[in-house]
Amino acid sequence: MSEHHITPLRTYLIIAACLLFLSGVTVWVSYVDLGPLNIVVAMLVATIKASLVAFFFMHLLWDDKKNLVMFLMSLMFFGIFVTITLLDTEFRGDLGLNPETKNPINKRAAFYDTLPLTDTHGHPVDEHSDHHDEDKDHH
């Protein structure tokens, strides 16, 4: 037997069950319309799952605290990167309040004009011969 801390088998199985359950939860919740809360709930569930994996499967709960600090630091720097970049991208133009000046580059790429319409299998549809599809073409 190893001298290191050995996680009990039961713990592993319970955590795995929780993870599978939470995966189901997150799929179910995605079908409920919560507006802007959807992304919040999804990330919350993902974070709970991630914490279970990190603390139990990756052993951070029982390890030297330095390992946890290292992991949290990585998340902190990720947070810094995202937040400060968004300070730029969300506030362009008139402090981001004017939709026209905020995303002036948000134009459709030119190559789309050359692409033929396709069916759901990706095969080009001939517009002139198939009249049934004309209604669907004009979204």
Binding site: A50, S74, L115
Partner: protein, 219 residues
Amino acid sequence: MSHHNPDSPSHLKHYFYDVNQQYETSKFAMWAFILTEVLTFAGLFVAYIVYRSWYPDMFIDAHKLLDVNKGLTNTIVLITSSLTMALAIWAIQKNNRKLSVLMLVATFVFALAFLGIKYLEYSHKFEVGQLPGEFYSYMGPDAVHLNNPHIFFSIYFIMTGLHGLHVAIGMGLIAWLIYSTHKGNLTSEYYTPMEMIGIFWHLVDLIWIYLFPLFYLIG
């Protein structure tokens, strides 16, 4: 100043005082490596977040072109593989070599399944033209109104592609572990490589835990 004490285990390097210092140092360094992996994917997550904030409607509609069932199956597959990886370490800690190898093989098989399902997804997308960047050509009735959907698929392919590359690398490492454990090189006295590769494998699971809702379950 020699540690070449004949009672020292053969795996103890001469610049470490004892096996515990060596083990703790390896684990710590592995976590520092995990930091670098998180920062690598961080760049891609930033790209995702920025582009999703610029094209919110396109992201919601484009994601419907992904197959949630395959995504969920992959999530289940990866979580189970994380369990079997943890059990492989549990087994070797109890010096049960056969069980450890069995669990490692199971992990490998699950990883293969993950890549198999990804292959099915990718080949479907190639077929219908839902491709990154300038290669995008899918203009089906559910996509024709989208504004620059190639960006969604660019980010999808790069992120799941890089993740898939890590799954493949993990499989290679696990294969080496299977060989090493089977040969008896890893025991309850010394299983540090398995511990370290296990941490890597759990990270691969961790990243997918976020990729799944962000691509397959938007809105």
